[in-house]
């Protein structure tokens, strides 16, 4: 099973050309960067452990000063482009990964920039302990795209004390949840065949109201439902189950103080499901979970014009699942997250909850390297148990990761994953299925996927000579 190809992967550098390409905001930027990634175009290039820098001869009279801080990574370029990173930054990195940048002591300009960044980071960290981090959670997806009431979506005003503000917010959320519940009950009263439900308008209205009431995660959930009505056989059962979950969450959200008293973890889960913002600093204050994290898969969904990227991790010794969420507006690059098929030695800090999945990355003890052994796998029945336990703790969960040893096959014209314990339907847009089938050649393989209520979405095939990322890339949800 071990082959000559398998051993080669160990020697790969942490930064490879594909990492640079992955950072690009679009394909055009990569093409432009390639043309610039030639030693003849650059002068005063150099690199050390933390940064790469250089001067690029462009079409203009003034050459561009380019510098990249590698850890974050962070970029600086004197060109006027609004793309981030711009083609000059990408070209410099390509030059560097191809071995055309000499190791040197950094010049003063670059040293100053790095020092200024470090100072800013320190100030920001200090400030984070007192101010709500505005661009943080899934909630933010909703508030960013709905500008109906800038007063509530904007940064919080510093005037009232935190207690008063929290109370005001609780009241606003409760009012919004009450309205949501009345609307949900009305839908069941008049019936799901109501033709108005087949249009986006009523759902959007409810969602907008929830954003105003500062329950943005529920707003997203309602919006996602709008896209389900009438789209496939059995849609009404899916919508009904979701209405049930919304009803449960609305009521639980209105009784948060009582719930928090007897089951604080569950109350935290409800808060998250509703969209309560949590300070990053508070999450980072949670005890760290240190482990070697297998990066098992990645799935991007497009929510309006925001790309939401889920990067799923699995602890090698803790066996815990963890979720890194990141967001990018259209045209911006995501990047920065560890790649599927790597393993990273790091601390993570979990958002509180009954079945805590979402984490923030804390201290990184060793950067991501190729995951030679791959993540541990289960049977399909074992994976179902795993998902079931998480669902019992948080019945409104919409996704949960799993890694199984299974083969893809056809049952009555539908693609499924199967093993000796049974089968599970493959769902989603199925764009990744030909690749899944090609990589396995019909045999069983280690496959990571996302469980969703109507099936599994394959994300990664872990082959002996490397992981193949087959996860969805935006455009559907």
């Amino acid at each position: 099973m071990a082959t000559s190809n398998g051993s080669e992967r160990v020697d790969e550098a942490v930064w490879a050309p594909e990492h640079v390409v992955a950072m690009a905001p679009d394909r055009a930027a990569v093409a432009a960067a390639r043309a610039l990634a030639l030693p003849g175009r650059w002068s005063a290039t150099g690199a050390d452990d933390e940064a790469v820098w250089g001067v690029c001869r462009g079409s203009g009279a003034e050459p561009y000063q380019v510098a990249v801080e590698l850890a974050e990574p962070a970029f600086r370029c004197s060109c006027p482009s609004r793309k981030l990173p711009c083609k000059h930054v990408l070209a410099l990195l390509l030059l560097w990964v191809n071995g055309h940048v000499p190791a040197l002591t950094r010049p003063g300009v670059v040293a100053n920039w790095l020092a200024a960044r470090a100072a800013r980071a320190a100030t920001a960290a200090a400030r984070q302990t007192t101010v709500v981090e505005p661009t943080d959670a899934e909630d933010d997806v909703a508030s960013r795209r709905t500008d109906r009431q800038p007063s509530t979506a904007g940064p919080p005003s510093p005037a009232p004390g935190p207690d008063k503000r929290a109370l005001e917010r609780a009241a606003r959320v409760a009012a919004g949840l009450g309205e949501l519940d009345r609307w949900v009950c009305d839908r069941v009263r008049t019936g799901l065949t109501d033709p108005a439900l087949a249009t986006y308008a009523p759902w959007d209205q409810v969602a907008a109201r929830l954003v105003d009431a500062q329950a943005p995660a529920l707003a997203n959930r309602v919006r996602r439902l709008a896209g389900v009505v009438g789209t496939r056989a059995g849609w009404h059962e899916h919508v009904l189950a979701e209405l049930g979950a919304l009803h449960a969450l609305a009521i639980a959200g209105c009784h948060l103080p009582a719930l928090a008293e007897c089951r604080p973890a569950l109350a935290d889960s409800v808060r998250t499901a509703v969209g309560w913002q949590l300070r990053q600093a508070d999450v980072l204050a949670q005890p760290p979970i240190t482990d070697h994290w297998h990066v098992v898969g990645r799935s991007d969904t497009l929510e309006d014009r925001i790309v939401v990227r889920r990067t799923w991790l699995r602890g090698r010794s803790t066996r815990r699942w963890a979720l890194l969420l990141s967001f990018a507006a259209y045209g911006q690059s995501l990047g920065g997250e560890p790649e599927p098929g790597t393993i990273i030695h790091a601390d993570v800090h979990a958002y509180p909850g009954a079945a805590p999945l979402r984490v923030l990355l804390g201290l990184i003890h060793a950067p991501a390297t190729v995951d030679v052994d791959g993540p541990p796998s289960a049977s399909l029945a074992g994976a179902c148990d795993d998902v079931g336990v998480a669902l019992a703790a948080e019945p409104w969960l919409e996704r949960h990761p799993l890694t199984v040893r299974a083969w893809p096959t056809l049952v009555d014209g539908r693609w499924v994953l199967a093993d000796h314990t049974g089968s599970m339907p493959i769902t989603g847009n199925l764009d990744g299925v030909p690749l899944l089938v090609a990589c396995t050649a019909g045999h069983s393989a280690t496959i990571s996927a996302e469980w969703m209520p109507d099936g599994v979405v394959p994300l990664t095939v872990h082959l002996v000579d490397g992981a193949v990322d087959i996860g969805p890339r935006g455009g559907w949800s």
Partner: protein, 346 residues
């Protein structure tokens, strides 16, 4: 979380709290997914029927169809405890509880047999570096993909599955290129085409073969001719045509001179790209070197750098495939019969 926790939660806020109802149903089935399934399975007929009744009530609306009465047992007790205000709320309470229990009690569907497996291809998999090069070519220099494919097959390698899929789907209507891809892909290509007729649609017209039987000798292992079948001559202007077979110094001199004086400009780009594609491989490295130092004329700088990149890329791709082929032969002599791809042990 433990069952007693859930029961406690239900008890604390038992009035009109659908959420606790949901939690409590799970408490009854002891939160363990497998037990959940067992409970769901035993009176499964009644619970499944009841779910259907709830769905049809919700579909028509409780104004027209009253909420079904839950079957005696956990669900009925919990609906009683939550005292719903009306039929709609009763349906929602039951739906919340039942949907949660059904999802948490998730079991796999019946097992399904494997697909008729793809016939073996005993050629080794394309080496990682060459694979990365192909990704780069697809992105930056699609003009070189055909030559890469021809050289890969000539060196005795097979395409990685991800490249088979990407290339076959992209060029599904291009018969000539599909022939090249299929040669490098081996039996995987027709096997996939049989499974995904829509995605690989173009192939159906030129080569409507079903999944090949496993004992058929894969035609693709026959040594391919080194000359690319699709590389039909492309007219070069009279002043450039002699360069194809000219001495390296002449080629490099003419190109560098022409570009820096602006005699060769962007309008010549397709011709020049084609020329670099056809040049003797030995000239490529020095040409790239000379071009990347020659970029002094601002109006042709982009074109010059671009051609330098192409020459460098083509040189690197040829070296990679030639060296890998030699390495592979040495290794084959040492140890015979390694297979690649996912191992089939379960």
């Amino acid at each position: 979380m433990s069952a007693s926790d859930a029961v406690l939660a239900a008890a604390v806020d038992a009035d009109v709290d659908a959420f606790d109802v949901a939690v409590d149903v799970e408490a009854d089935v002891d939160v363990d997914a497998s037990v959940c399934a067992a409970v769901d399975a035993q009176p499964s007929l009644t619970l499944a029927d009841h779910w259907a009744a709830l769905a049809s009530a919700a579909l028509l609306g409780t104004d027209r169809r009253p909420a079904p009465t839950p079957p005696p047992g956990a669900l009925a007790d919990l609906v009683g405890a939550s005292r719903p205000a009306d039929d709609a709320e009763s349906v929602l309470v039951q739906v919340a509880a039942l949907a949660a229990a059904r999802r948490a009690g998730l079991r796999p569907a019946p097992a399904a047999p494997r697909l008729a497996s793809c016939p073996d291809d005993d050629r080794p998999l394309c080496p990682p570096a060459a694979g990365r090069r192909l990704d780069e070519l697809i992105e930056a220099w699609p003009e070189l993909v055909d030559e890469w494919l021809t050289r890969l097959a000539a060196a005795g390698f097979r395409l990685r599955p991800q490249h088979v899929v990407a290339l076959a789907i992209r060029h599904r209507t291009d018969v000539a290129r599909r022939a090249l891809i299929d040669q490098a892909a081996g039996p995987l290509a027709p096997w996939l085409a049989g499974l995904f007729p829509t995605q690989f649609a173009g192939a159906a017209r030129s080569r409507a073969r079903p999944v090949a039987p496993s004992n058929a000798a894969p035609s693709s292992t026959a040594p391919p001719s080194t000359a690319a079948a699709v590389d039909e001559p492309f007219p070069l202007p009279p002043d450039l045509a002699p360069l194809v077979g000219a001495a390296p110094a002449d080629v490099i001199g003419t190109l560098v001179d022409g570009l820096s004086r602006g005699r060769l400009a962007n309008r010549h780009r397709p011709v020049l790209v084609h020329l670099v594609r056809r040049l003797d491989p030995a000239i490529l490295a020095p040409l790239a070197e000379a071009l990347s130092r020659a970029g002094t004329n601002p109006s042709t700088l982009g074109l010059t750098m671009s051609l330098a990149d192409m020459a460098r890329t083509r040189a690197a791709m040829i070296t990679e495939l030639t060296e890998s082929a030699t390495d592979e032969q040495n290794e084959q002599n040492e140890q015979n019969g390694t297979t690649d791809g996912p191992d089939a042990s379960t």
